[in-house]
Symmetry: C2
Subunit: 214 residues, 2 copies
């Protein structure tokens, strides 16, 4: 994995470009420039071109990008030309919210199993899914071909759950527990920390205050 | 706000640096170099120096940064030298999970009120908080001096809630609803989209697959 030198910020921006291009395509726009993409998303145009240049030559100088082509290219780069079956561990409040989250389906993610070890939660319905005991995880992962697991359990159980996921062949983990997971280099982990998003807000409030006091 | 040209990716990295420096400080480390920070977080050292240079001169060439000083500086840049009282709208599954989320407190965020307009939810206890009706929002915001609101309501109610928040004087919104909010330029909005984090994973799985097929 060390040869993949694409910065994480670029990958995040690709997700934004992808969403924006799909909105624009729906409106019937055929071509778009890096300047237009940049302005709509508050990014530098040179950054847009640099981000896309990691993945080959797109667009024509002076004409811009074909919206549909670029949109499909980016979806493919992000691996979104297929549906990803995802298993979810933890059927507490956060896990339940994630199981019912509408935003996943739209981007090609399908929760195929929700697991918990709490007997009061097992058997509960979350949308069309029934919460299953953890000992059925291996079976579901194999049947559905899942490579991605979401962890939404308390922090003190997260490492054990991560090991279980890796043990049944999961290759990528989205971790909502506020703790650092120790897994092998072969497994990709993405941590979700809600405070990071709040800090982007307080940064802005803070900057504004300093600015007003000048 | 147009004069604040700090890229959002820099702000996100500042949050990471901040977390890392606090871990390192706890271990008793006194000085640290940009190379060490960069290596620990998988960032380019030049990027670390550039990110910090937005906010003045830190560190000594050849010696590095004083961990505690830099940590405090970054906390201050992010506005984390104070406690932020936050109001939360929506006491459904996601809202409840957020109200009980342990990660906020650690970074100086305090949920001071949870609101819903569903009479079945009003009065319910979430930790030490009781869910309040939305018509008490203005009162709580004023009493607590909240500038930040979190939206965790269904997409079709989000815009209305955003307007209500702005109406009572909220300056910054963290939006968990999968929709674009229309608020004035004076209000900072940060959207949380869980699929973006999943796409960072599928990107990696995709790249790895391409790499193996070479």
């Amino acid at each position: 994995l060390k040869t993949l030198k694409v910065p994480q910020a670029t990958v995040m921006r690709l997700s934004l470009y992808s969403r924006f291009l799909e909105q624009v395509a729906e409106k019937g726009v055929v071509t778009i420039s890096s300047v237009e993409i940049a302005e709509a998303l508050g990014v530098n145009p040179a950054q847009v071109r640099k981000d896309l240049a990691y993945f080959g030559e797109f667009g024509t100088r002076g004409v811009g990008y074909n919206v549909k082509e670029l949109s499909q290219h980016i979806r493919k780069i992000l691996g979104l030309h297929q549906v990803w079956p995802v298993v979810l561990i933890g059927a507490g409040k956060l896990g339940s919210a994630l199981a019912l989250y509408q935003g996943f389906h739209k981007r090609g993610f399908q929760i195929v199993g929700v697991f918990d070890n709490d007997s009061r939660k097992i058997g509960q319905k979350l949308g069309h899914l029934k919460v299953l005991p953890l000992d059925q995880l291996a079976q579901v992962v194999e049947k559905e071909g899942s490579q991605i697991g979401i962890i939404a359990v308390p922090a003190d159980a997260a490492q054990q759950v991560a090991e279980k996921l890796v043990g049944v062949g999961i290759k990528a983990i989205l971790n909502f527990s506020p703790c650092v997971l120790n897994v092998g280099e072969e497994v990709v982990v993405q941590n979700v920390d809600f405070s990071v998003s709040l800090e982007a807000l307080t940064f802005n409030l803070q900057m504004r205050k300093m600015h007003q006091n000048k």
